[in-house]
Amino acid sequence: MIFGLGVLKGMMVTLKNFVLSYFTKERLTTVQYPEERIPEKERFRNFPFLIYDEKPEDLRCVSCDICAKECPPKCITIVRDSDEQGKPLKRPKVFDIDFSICMNCGICEEVCPFDAIFMDHEFELAEYGRFEDLNYHKDDLLKSNEYFAKIRPQDAARIDAKLREKAKLKETEIRGHNT
């Protein structure tokens, strides 16, 4: 029986696989894509988005232009806003990211000193027009802080704590000045 035993053992393995695939999940690992999805991981990195705190007008971006300068394929275009007299404001008037160029490297998130731009998790963004539809403007890129906390809870918690610390420090400073 030494000769044919290997074949029989092999066949027992496949039979076990076949039968147990009806009962256990680990022997049938297919995820039926459009109906079921794999749960999102926090550190998954896709295209960027801009953060606002309470209202879309309170965006954190001050149009310092660092992310546009550091972006390797130069897909970010920033134009600073100015008020009626022409004095520059700390807000972008135009903030365009060309998603057909963006390579999802995450450098813009790493270098932003104001925690204003972060990488999103959305990947189902296919479009028909490369120039008309894949050029995302400021309004398309703005997403709330609650959304950020939902997709990346740990990072959001850390950033929120940092911002609260800064706000508290500024308040004690102002109070110190006033006394």
């Binding site: 030494i2 074949v7 039979l15 076949f18 695939s21 009806y22 049938l28």
Partner: protein, 385 residues
């Protein structure tokens, strides 16, 4: 239960009586033949289509994935999608190919596959043609498939196809000998070539597989049947991923579909014949006869697909060695013990046959042991350090 068992016979009879009202008597013979042949001609290709789906789903489950399940509810419309795809594909013929041979081979290769269906007893009284030489008919037809594979390979004018074709011919003719020899014990005991008589000789539960010569004969017949159909592990001729696609490399569209259809119809008919000859055909307690028949046939088909999901392909020298050095002597010994079994009385015949079979198996295993060369000893190869 009687009605459920004979339901198809009753259906055919009622069709004949209904038609006999307005058709002349001499044409009723033709009508009877037409009904049987029509049933087979519809049943054959539909079976083949759904066997392809069954195979894909089964092999998929073995490989930890679903099979096709997007097209219909359980993938049930997948074969129809495949059929439409193959019909609408462009028919490419190599420029210098032998057009007549290239065209003829896939058309004719389906014919033996369909003809075998006519001698298979699907149930009690449900055989299309009760030939007195039914089993010989089957053996002869399965031999004719060989030449059409070679014609396909030759007509493609492609060296690799020809190579695949030559290997296919070598494999098929060398597996025919143990196949025929393994059926002979059944003929000795049943006394007739007719498949109906063979099934009736296994009445009750004394199927031929429960005897010493029956077990060996069943295994030999089944393995040679798998080899005749060119299925894994013997699918060197069509060796997917080895020599592109073997003898059917240069075929596209409907011609390839015909080869595929012939292969699956052959799978079904071999399983059906093995079930008939060794496993007792439609014999079985309590359930209708055709249910038993299909259960046995599909159990054997499941085993063939299980082989496909498990085993790697045999190399051509291993394949030929298996046939000539192992199966053929075993088939001859099987013949001997079948003769002894019929001559002696119980229980001596079982004991003597089993002993001889066991001894033969031990000797064959010893004779076929793989040669493992001794470890080489090098001398004068290294300078004296």
């Amino acid at each position: 239960m009687e009605n459920a068992d004979q339901i198809f016979v009753i259906l055919k009879r009622s069709l004949m009586t209904w038609a006999g009202v307005f058709l002349p008597d001499w044409s009723l013979v033709f009508l009877s033949i037409l009904i049987s042949i029509g049933a087979i001609a519809v049943f054959g290709p539909v079976t083949m289509m759904y066997l392809t789906l069954l195979e894909r789903k089964l092999v998929g489950r073995i490989q930890n994935r679903y099979g096709p399940n997007r097209v219909g509810f359980w993938g049930l419309l997948q074969p129809i999608a495949d059929g439409i795809k193959m019909l609408t594909k462009e028919d490419i013929i190599p420029e210098k190919a032998d057009r007549f041979a290239h065209f003829l081979a896939p058309v004719v290769i389906v014919i033996p596959a369909l003809l075998i269906f006519s001698v298979i007893p699907f149930g009690r009284g449900m055989v299309a043609v009760d030939l007195s030489i039914g089993l010989l008919f089957f053996l002869a037809l399965s031999s004719t498939t060989t030449i059409w594979i070679f014609v396909a390979a030759w007509g493609s004018r492609n060296k690799f196809s020809l190579l695949g074709g030559m290997r296919a011919v070598a494999q098929m003719i060398s597996y025919e000998i143990p196949m025929v020899l393994s059926v002979v014990p059944v003929l000795i005991v049943a006394g007739s070539f007719s498949t109906v008589a063979i099934v009736e000789a296994q009445s009750g539960l004394n199927w031929f597989v429960f005897t010493p010569w029956g077990i060996a004969g069943f295994l030999i017949f089944f393995l040679t049947g798998v080899a005749e159909v060119n299925r894994t592990p013997f699918d060197l001729p069509e060796g997917e991923s080895e020599i592109v696609a073997g003898f059917h490399t240069e075929y596209s569209g409907m011609k390839f579909a015909l080869f595929y259809m012939a292969e699956f119809m052959n799978t079904f008919s071999i399983s059906a014949i093995v079930a008939t000859v060794y496993l007792g055909g439609w014999q079985g307690p309590w359930l209708p006869s055709w249910v038993w028949f299909f259960a046995k046939t599909y159990a054997l088909i499941f085993v063939m697909m299980w082989f496909r999901g498990t085993l790697p392909r045999l190399r051509v020298d291993q394949l030929m060695g298996f046939a000539w050095k192992f199966l053929l002597p075993l088939a001859l010994v099987n013949l001997l013990i079948a003769g002894i079994w019929t001559e002696f009385k119980t229980p001596a015949n079982n004991i003597v046959s089993s002993l001889i079979l066991f001894a033969a198996l031990v000797i064959l295993y010893w004779a076929n042991r793989p040669e493992i060369p001794k470890k080489r000893v090098y001398r004068y190869a290294y300078a004296d350090e």
